[in-house]
Subunit: 205 residues, 4 copies
DNA sequence: AATGAATGAGGTTTCATTCAT
DNA sequence: CATGAATGAAACCTCATTCAT
């Protein structure tokens, strides 16, 4: 009984080390030596928990998917029922997403940066995983259209493109390198942009 | 079978092959064997033109920077003088950027995806290169503000974030995998979004 | 076929193999393949014990220096206290030196023959090592002068030149190729020569 | 006619460059690139004059043998007829040998240092070449015995060992690195040593 | 005769994986 | 379970030699 817990703990240690190392060096550059050093275990031990380096990578991805699903579940539960507070709710939602990646920088690095072919299987997993993100955001758009916050004539796929693109960009270029501006400021500008665009009113339409 | 070519031509062949291979496999996974096979030359020939694999990568980056500077020069020369045609000019500008990456998919793949540490020098080059992109876009925003198209109260840095994020996202997820929608449709939606945002008018502000 | 050995034993095996191979082929001509074949281990095993071919060479030099220091220590402990037995003691001393190189022919080959630049560091090591030899012999001369066996007006540096030159020559041309005369005969002639020179007495000075 | 002279001149250039490079780096470390750079010719040109790197090395050895034979011829012609001037004549002879190697330092480096197997053929050439040196010195000893300068009971082979050993040592450790003492001083000490040995007279024989 | 681009065998080194302890 | 020495395929790189120009 205790043994099994130990096993899970040890595996967790290794996955944690793998995340750190893959984030710092990328899948290909990371070596088993890096991972076992980070985890403080012997070489052979690694192969007790993973059948190969690729298997460890899959375990890392699984960890991300797990966290991501939790995140989506929380998000889906969010209420936009009160029309007076929709703006506030969207603000919280965006902040939560940024906070999520802020708390999981290493996973974010791996997921958003490891886009090159690692193996045929991986490419699909990666694609599926991102697609599930995008699907979530497309659904969010539809939701905002239903409650009347977003115009019905906007293409959900296009809005997803904007959301995803900006989110990933902000994560990769501002959150991970810990550069300003702070996420609150980004979110405020973002919401204003979403609402009104940027065109000067004086301009003759 | 030995075929002697003009040095510049041969070098061009090799850079071309390197771009293909780095785009397909990523820097670390790509091997010299892959590159020389793609170029149809012998092993030793590679080292006549590059001192190392890393050197070949730098040559690829140089090629991108060269093309990028041309692109920016063309862009900077674009006239937004006629107020009646500003919308049209911006449309053309966005289309040109997407066409640029459409024509240089492999370079785009490398530049936007190879984010992991290849060598200390590379990290800086890559950062500088992206920064020069961003700088260009920030300046564009300021330009649009000067001609009165964009509101003065918008932060150029934030708009850059949006432009860059969406551009990179569209390139990576739609242009490179050759998935719909067509770039014209994307640009049209983009412009409308930029102008007006997405908020339904009926919504009580 | 995998056989796990004590680390020191395995390292000893490898150093031994390296000595054999470097002696037979010289540093530059010797390949890792030669060394691992001589040691009967796999390619990777070599790099568990040495970081590079040069590192292996340094290990070989270290081995020589170790043996040489032992030799010098034994030599320094030799007593020349009994004036009646000085000739005998010197004879033993010379014989011991020749026996030392006879027992370490491969090391002698490497040390006396690898005089060409291997790396900047090596050149200095090699020079220092030979210099320590010469220093020992210079001191020996002074010792023989103190006990009155050698004339005070002889320059120790010059006598060192003679000792070193003859010793190295005998090692390289007679001991290593296992050619006559036997070392006892060489030593007897040597001593007589040292004592009296070769000039015929009949010659008018 | 002129062409043929040109050819010889060009070949001489190349042999000269090869001597420099082989002396500086050793046969194995020296590359064709080094030699053609030193000679200031193109890669292909090298192979017009030598069939291979080894062939160039043989040409270098041939050059040494040529010079050495000249040296021996001059030496053999030297007269020791006047008994009053034998000491003086020997002094001149030794000085001439040292001057010979002083003037051909690079060749000396190659001949005395390249002792490791370059090819089966080379080993023999090198051996033969040194043997011809030794033969010359053995004959010199016999000559000195004939004229009564050297005792008849001294083994010519042994004296050769001393001469050769000291000569090579002086060349390698003093002349090539251009370190003191000056050759005149060495020769004076050498002659005194040869004549009388080093034993103090006070010592009870 | 001279050139130098091209070649590819062979060298050094790395590292994911195995397995005896 | 855990260890880490051992393995060898495969990577990068060098350089003597060839040959089209």
């Amino acid at each position: 009984m205790r043994r099994i817990l130990d096993k899970e703990v040890r595996r967790g240690q290794l996955v944690h080390a793998a995340i750190k190392v893959f984030a710092a060096k990328g899948y290909r550059s990371a070596s088993i030596a890096d991972i076992i050093e980070a985890a403080g275990v012997a070489r052979g031990t690694f192969y007790l928990y993973f059948s190969s380096k690729l298997d460890a990578f899959h375990a890392v991805m699984d960890r991300y998917i797990e966290l991501f699903k939790e995140r989506v579940a929380t998000e889906t539960a969010r209420s936009y029922a009160n029309p007076l507070k929709v703006r506030q709710a969207i603000r919280e939602s965006l902040l939560d997403w940024l906070r999520f990646y802020q708390e999981n920088k290493d996973l974010a690095k791996i997921v958003f940066r490891e886009a090159t072919a690692i193996d045929p299987d991986y490419e699909k997993r990666c694609y599926d995983m991102l697609e599930s993100c995008f699907q979530h955001w497309r659904e969010s758009v539809t939701r905002f259209q239903k409650i009347g916050f977003v115009r019905r004539d906007v293409d959900p796929e296009f809005l997803n493109m904007v959301f995803s693109g900006v989110l990933i960009h902000v994560v990769l270029r501002h959150i991970i390198p810990e550069r300003p501006p702070a996420i609150e400021r980004i979110v405020d500008q973002w919401i204003e942009f979403i609402e009104s665009g940027v065109k000067a009113r004086s301009w003759l339409a």
